[in-house]
Subunit: 216 residues, 2 copies
Amino acid sequence: MKDARKIKDLLYEQVARIGKVFSSPKRLELVELLCQGEKSVETLAHEASISVKLTSAHLRELRAAHLVETERQGKNIYYRLADKSVADLWVQIHTLAEERLIELQMALQKIATQPHDLVPSDRESLMKAARKGEVVVLDVRPSEEYLTAHLPFARSIPLEELRKRLGELPKDRAIVAYCRGPYCLMAADAVALLNGEGYSAIHLRDGVAEWAVTNR
Amino acid sequence: MKDARKIKDLLYEQVARIGKVFSSPKRLELVELLCQGEKSVETLAHEASISVKLTSAHLRELRAAHLVETERQGKNIYYRLADKSVADLWVQIHTLAEERLIELQMALQKIATQPHDLVPSDRESLMKAARKGEVVVLDVRPSEEYLTAHLPFARSIPLEELRKRLGELPKDRAIVAYCRGPYCLMAADAVALLNGEGYSAIHLRDGVAEWAVTNR
DNA sequence: TAATCATTCTAATATTTATTAGAATGTAAT
DNA sequence: ATTACATTCTAATAAATATTAGAATGATTA
């Protein structure tokens, strides 16, 4: 088998196709957005702060690697992750990045308004408290994303409506706010707002994708 | 917080540094080799079939992403993975690639000499049989790699020495051969050799890195 | 100390990839 | 049908990466 080298090259080349998807900051952001549920090209472009054309180009790469699927709904084309394991890989990559890159650790500390952030080991006790109603788990993402998937016992108040709907929240109990994940700033904003209004809010960095990955 | 976009860009950029490492076929091959234990630049270059200079350049990328560590031993500089989680990510990426890319599935089928390949679900029964001595688990990698880490109950006969040392293996029991992982052809060669000589050998695609990952 | 060796660094070029603009496609509304 | 709209495709350029060669480094051996 003298063409063993050719076969191996071919194999690694295929795997690299997947790796390439995760080598561009904007594609990573699109993957994270898609972890929240299916979205149209325009929505993705807006939320990632890039042009529709560029978004389309990146999505084409994602589709070429068979990591997303598309579906036409009226005028819009909706993209969604082809499999849950794509979200898992995103979580594992950003987790490894957080473990290994000091620069990332430092940047993440800037986001943390207070040292209130919950760590994975608190999961069980958080769920216990949420079940008993001792804490309010608050999902501050847009409501469509909440409807697609949310943490157990979570209540939905999108960040945009939060100021108006403060009355729905109790002041005598802890509020645990979360959003799309550690790189989404919505929960941090929500926590700042709530604490400024006399609530006792803390920030949970995990989003639904992170929560879905066991062994963390 | 109007610079939210800048912060986010910075965060995704950092994660993309990790992704970039896994976006090049040759870097992937180097990562897989490093999963087998620490190796010198020259060894890595030889085993990946690329020049020393190019190997050095790729290793520099790996080091810049803090995924490998170096240690000087005499004239040589040895590289090793900075953390077990790097090997885990390699396994998860190639697993996702195998799930999603038909091209890769087809290329892998070419390697499979027979439909004898073991699947993950056989792990428990394999270990049970190996413990009882009903099957021989055979590690055909170079002996240094075996010494660094190997599967439970595995015996080491490097592929190069296999023909000479056939007498050490029983003909009345199944032999399960493995090597560096699904993209390494050594175990396939070993299985072909053994079956040609009257042994009943089968090919286990997992290597130590794959074996170490749970939930598979 | 000089010579040798493994490896890295620097710089140059070849190849890819990202990004943008304009034309084309397919659907929905008028 | 015609128009408007969302998205993709094609083509062009700008930016980044892979690869190679030559000089430099740092440790070992003669």
